[in-house]
Symmetry: C2
Subunit: 326 residues, 2 copies
């Protein structure tokens, strides 16, 4: 496992370098200064890693996958910048969001240009499958927009079911994971069966990743997580936890959850109460089980691939999603 | 000329049909309802026409160019939706803008998804040159963002020169015209010389189109134009006219122009005064000359193409830009 951690750090720093070199221009300053700001913010770079490992797992090389890896991360950053405007978020990765540090107009334009840069990088990919790669990428952009639209719609609804929620996160979060693993497989010239397995791997990983995110809002270490614990509760975000609690809770527990949903949030002092409800009705356990099940399913997909060290690292990757603390 | 007008209407209605069929989905409603609203608003469809005619002029067919034609129009609509947010525009094509009818969040997301749909359509193009087509398209998106960034920057500056202005409109408006004619040439498998001529044609046409737009703000018929006459003056927009007037005007004329620039606009009652200044210093004449020169240059580019009826219609096209009243 240690060696995979090292390899991850090496890939991550290569990806970081290449992402920085995406933006060489300086003018117009109002565009390129915030672009650099966004792309230098770091991040786990999970989606690019997934592209590279998926490519390697079917016999391709890191270099072949590198442009697409950068593209998916730039695209991911576009979604962050625009989502932050829509969510009126103050900070991201410990720094002010673009629309707070500059303004909304700047943030809109920065997001738009990030999409263009993502395509520019993607289209530099030398691959027989470039047409398919571009198609998969484009359907990714479409679904991410749909996912965000559902997310904003759900903010206004009281009766969001767990199925609604799963559809939303499949699009908003899951899709870019399955796009990543599928594109990696395509560039590495995997067989149809391998590519299907990789896409499916990405889908399961993406769902596990998001539900883990919901869970970490309650159980993470605030410092490591980099976000305030219970933030989702304060905002009344319809997470896996809140929706399940709404389904299961009874009596005054139900009343509290209901009030959070109707009032679109609650006071900070109520966080411990909600946590207790989550524990009382085994909601945290339920989330963990869901994550574990997805990770098992993801790993089953990997069984369909050849036994290579890249596949081993994909097992390590799914394990990382399972056990991540931040 | 009559027959070209007819052909234009025929192409336009084909393009309209195909644009409507871009969006078949209904959910999420918050995304697809405003998407349909935007794409059904009509418009002159000049960029798609330019793609089709450029393709035909080098020996290609309308059908080959149709996906790209739809793509460029969808992309153009993306720029309108996002620009309208940034400019806080109330109406567009006689209807409420997306962010006014819905809200900014919806408009951001609609714009984002329009980019994705534009790429989806573009990538359906069956052409040997599809990689180049996609590259040219992507550089178009980049430059349009840069152009909009300059435009917003210039709003905050007092000393915007005519060269600054020309750079800005080359990116914000001109680029999508040259992208259109170049893509048409690529899909039609024109020679390098033909494609260069077409691209250059688009560049001149784009500049003429924008300066004509600036001019129409002052001289158009309000009803036909669909916008209030003098709107640019009220907003203190740094158009070709205002910048030239600032360069040329003297004494109290200069003072008025200066105050409009510093105050970022003026009252409606000052529109006739500004018009008089434009006339007194031959600014309208200057704009007309600039447009005429660009159209001549554009037509010279067409001389490099084979003598076909598509080329004749491109002459008609440049003439339409020269003489348009709205």
């Amino acid at each position: 496992m240690r060696s995979y951690e090292k390899k991850y750090q090496r890939y991550r720093s290569l990806i970081d370098q290449k992402i920085h070199s995406c933006v060489r221009k300086h003018e117009p300053v109002s565009l390129y200064e915030p672009m650099k700001y966004v792309l230098s913010a770091g991040g786990k770079r999970m989606r690019p890693l997934l592209i590279v490992l998926s490519c390697e797992a079917v016999g391709g090389t890191m270099n072949e996958a590198m442009n697409a890896a950068v593209a998916i991360e730039v695209l991911h950053n576009f979604t962050l910048v625009h989502d932050d405007i829509m969510d009126n978020a103050e900070s991201r990765r410990g720094r002010a969001t673009v629309h707070k540090r500059w303004d909304s107009n700047v943030a809109i334009l920065v997001g738009d240009e990030l999409v263009a840069l993502a395509y520019r990088e993607l289209l530099r990919t030398k691959s027989k499958a470039i047409a398919q790669v571009a198609d998969v990428f484009t359907e990714g952009v479409v679904e991410v927009c749909e996912g965000q639209a559902y997310d904003k719609e759900f903010e206004m609804l009281h009766d969001v079911s767990i199925d609604d929620y799963l559809l939303m996160i499949a699009k908003k979060t899951g899709k870019l994971f399955s796009v990543s693993s599928e594109i990696g497989g395509l560039i590495g010239e995997g067989t149809d069966r391998e590519i299907r397995a990789l896409r499916s791997f990405g889908t399961y990983i993406g769902r596990a990743f998001q539900i883990q995110d919901d869970l970490l809002d309650v159980i993470a270490d605030e410092k490591e997580f980099g976000k305030m614990i219970g933030g989702d509760i304060i905002e009344g975000k319809k997470t896996f936890l809140l929706i399940k609690a709404y389904e299961r809770a009874q009596g005054k527990d139900k009343k509290l959850i209901n009030s959070i949903i109707r009032n679109k949030g609650t006071q900070k002092k109520n966080i411990p109460l909600v946590k207790e409800i989550y524990e009382r009705y085994d909601i945290l356990q339920l989330a963990k089980q869901s994550i574990e099940k997805d990770i098992r399913q993801a790993n089953l997909q990997l069984e369909k691939l050849r036994d290579t060290s890249a596949r081993e690292m994909l097992f390590w990757f799914s394990n990382m999603v399972l056990n991540r603390q931040f």
